[in-house]
């Protein structure tokens, strides 16, 4: 059992790595709150872009869907839904937005597997005997392999959704929302060191949740 991350480290100042100075995300959030339609669109664009990229990542092992325009076809409905879901939300804080965005993105990715991968759905191409040979003497148990088919991805997304909030939120920010570690530290109001520690911890916990990274 992995130990919980207790945050015992002193929290260093986040000065000098503010979100707004680097990426303008905070500026966008402020813009949204003050009714700036362009800022809202940009923020939504960012979330849609993440969904787009993660979908491509999931589909990279599916030759028939690898071409980008094919990905777009599959994605179209998901993007529309994500856009609608986030457009109606009153975004109060950066953390609030990213939390919602990550949840919606995860939901859409799961839905995409369920409804768009043909009659065999999530079970298609499901096999677990394709792990690379253990050629360097290490144990496969200690590997965290990238999911290679839709069933594995489904398992991955569902496992993330079941994680404790402290682990899930850092995966949401860094993996689903795709922001940098410095930005994530700023969003969570912790030092970069604490963020790195949480990120490591979250990956280890997720690895364990996925039966030592081998999926089922």
């Amino acid at each position: 059992m992995l130990p919980p991350e207790n945050g015992a480290l002193p929290q260093a100042t986040t000065q000098g790595m503010t979100l707004s100075s680097d990426t303008g995300l905070q500026g966008l959030i402020d813009g949204v709150r003050s009714g700036d339609a362009t800022a809202r669109e940009l923020l939504l664009d960012h979330a849609c872009d993440r969904l787009y990229r993660l979908t491509r990542k999931m589909l990279r092992h599916y030759p028939t869907l690898r071409r980008w325009e094919a990905t777009d076809d599959v994605l179209q409905n998901s993007l529309v839904r994500l856009h609608r879901a986030l457009a109606e939300v009153d975004v109060a804080t950066v953390a609030h937005f990213f939390n919602l965005a990550a949840t919606q993105i995860r939901r859409e990715l799961l839905d995409l597997v369920k409804h768009h991968m043909g009659p065999e759905g999530a079970g298609r191409h499901h096999h677990t005997d394709h792990q690379p040979p253990d050629d360097d003497g290490g144990s496969l148990q200690n590997r965290f392999m990238e999911p290679e088919n839709m069933a594995m991805w489904t398992e991955f997304h569902e496992a993330v959704a079941r994680l404790a909030a402290e682990h899930r939120e850092v995966i949401d920010l860094l993996f689903y929302d795709g922001i940098s570690q410095h930005e994530a530290a700023d969003v969570l109001g912790v030092s970069i060191r604490t963020l790195k520690r949480r990120w490591q911890q979250a990956k280890l916990v997720l690895h364990e949740a996925l039966r030592d990274g081998r999926f089922t």
């Binding site: 362009t38 993440r50 965290f144 790195k196 990956k203």
Partner: protein, 472 residues
């Protein structure tokens, strides 16, 4: 494990990652030398974390699109010249891989560009070309420390810029517009410098633009590939299609190809998207040939104009130089909101032209100041044959009621371009004096040309404008 083991393990893991990011893969046994009971668990966790990097990568590009990541980091662990230990692949160019390496002599991280096997046809010529590029010194260019050869391997050692690439920034949330413009401005300045030294990059793209910890953009990997290719030292390389200019598709191109590529980068930095709809290579090629479509958010008229200018299909319709591009970007940053309508600007320019022409011809008082113009290419004398285009552009001076003569729009690219002047071969620098002590402004000038009635290019003269003492 004892009760405090979790904290100790977490600390050790952080320490391991810190060292790993610096290129040291320290074994668990060494890290936990004082805690032997934790070694096995630490080693297990390190293995898990090392294999979980796919969680950090976020582009989701299909393998065929991952041109910027080395696929076969065969040089890992190799020590070049007994000095540079290759630690980690950090990028992939048209013919070479880029690694983070550790200079064991000076004890610092460096970046090493190592051509892949078979890509360097003539090593000696490659090194000569690399040395030529290495002589470039500019704040916007990543400094080259060394160009060397170890057995069959030629390589280039340069500063390792911490902070990532523009590609990383674009892959995340869209950067603020002024930040993005400043980055492109930095790169345009660096390109101008390189172009003036006869070196063309030809592979400008976000992955080749590094952002340091101060937020400054630098051109990495400058020009080796293409300038070397031209001299026959490298096997031909395709470049990066998404950022290529139309003329590059057919094997042509000059310094204005870099301007086009930088325009694509500007568009992507401002919107997160390329100025094209097509994604697959064939359709993209067609669209590049047909012309880019600039789609910036509403209200970005100035930047839209700049972007469009840089992305013109015909090189002659683009900015004639990176300096012109940079000047427009600078102006856009200084004046984020247009203060005048186009018509008003023309009217103002016409007024300036009239004032300037009067000053030239009569040398009499204009407002509270007077102006004398000297022809630097001939005998120093008053001259009446200032090119009309200069006068129309208000190039000479804007005379304001304060008695101080300011040159807000002296031969900057914006106006030179608007009036069909093109900067060609550099002639050096021309000093523009504003009449205030210490207020001379050095403006890098090129050889100015204008077209005569037969549409032939004829050289303009260069002038020095300076105010005369006020006559009251």
């Amino acid at each position: 494990m004892t009760d405090d083991s979790p904290d100790v393990l977490a600390e050790l893991l952080l320490r391991w990652e810190e060292l790993f990011e610096r290129g040291h893969d320290v074994p668990a046994a060494e890290l936990a030398a004082g805690e032997p009971h934790l070694v096995a668990e630490l080693a297990r966790r390190i293995e898990i974390l090392k294999s979980s990097t796919w969680l950090d990568a976020d582009t989701g590009d299909p393998p065929s699109d991952r041109a910027d990541q080395p696929r076969t980091p065969t040089a890992m662990g190799r020590v070049l010249l007994g000095r540079y230990r290759i630690d980690e692949p950090v990028g992939r160019g048209g013919y070479a891989d880029v690694y983070r390496a550790y200079d064991m002599e000076l004890q610092r991280n460096v970046a090493i560009k190592l051509p892949r096997d078979g890509r360097v046809v003539n090593p000696d010529a490659f090194l000569a070309e690399a040395r030529r590029v290495a002589r470039l010194k500019h704040p916007g260019l990543v400094p080259v420390h060394d160009v060397a050869r170890d057995g069959d391997a030629c390589f280039i050692v340069s500063e390792f810029v911490e902070g990532g690439t523009l590609a990383d920034r674009i892959a995340g949330p869209i950067p603020l517009a002024d930040r993005a413009v400043q980055w492109i401005l930095d790169i345009a300045d660096a390109l101008e410098y390189a172009h003036l030294h006869g070196i063309i990059h030809r592979d400008i793209k976000p992955a080749n633009i590094l952002i340091d910890h101060h937020g400054r953009a630098l051109v990495g990997d400058f020009g080796i590939a293409e300038s070397a290719t031209r001299s026959g030292t490298l096997a031909p390389t395709a470049g990066t299609l998404r950022y290529m200019s139309p003329e590059q598709l057919t094997g042509g191109g000059d310094h204005r190809s870099d301007i086009y590529s930088l325009g694509v980068v500007l568009h992507e930095a401002l919107t997160g998207r390329l100025p094209y709809d097509a994604d697959d290579p064939q359709a993209l090629r067609r669209e590049i040939t047909r012309g880019a479509t600039v789609r910036l958010p509403p209200g970005r008229n100035t930047l839209t104009a700049i972007c469009s200018r840089s992305l013109q299909r015909r090189p002659d319709d683009r900015y004639a130089s990176a300096a012109h591009f940079a000047a427009d970007l600078r102006r856009a940053m200084d004046n984020p909101r247009p203060r005048w309508s186009r018509r008003a600007a023309w009217a103002f320019a016409a007024c300036c032209a009239a004032l300037s022409a009067t000053a030239l011809l009569t040398t009499r008082s204009v407002g509270s100041g007077r102006m004398e113009v000297k022809d630097l290419t001939g005998p120093a004398s008053l001259s009446a044959d200032v090119p009309a285009s200069w006068r129309r552009a208000g190039v000479l001076a804007e005379i304001r009621g304060t008695g101080k003569i300011e040159f807000p729009r002296l031969p900057t690219s914006a106006y030179a371009l608007e009036f069909d002047l093109e900067i060609r071969e550099p002639l050096g620098r021309v000093t523009i004096y504003t009449g205030e002590p210490g207020s001379g402004v050095d403006i890098p000038m090129g050889h100015l040309w204008e077209q005569d009635r037969e549409q032939r290019r004829i050289p303009c003269r260069l002038f020095r404008a300076q105010p005369l003492a006020s006559t009251g």
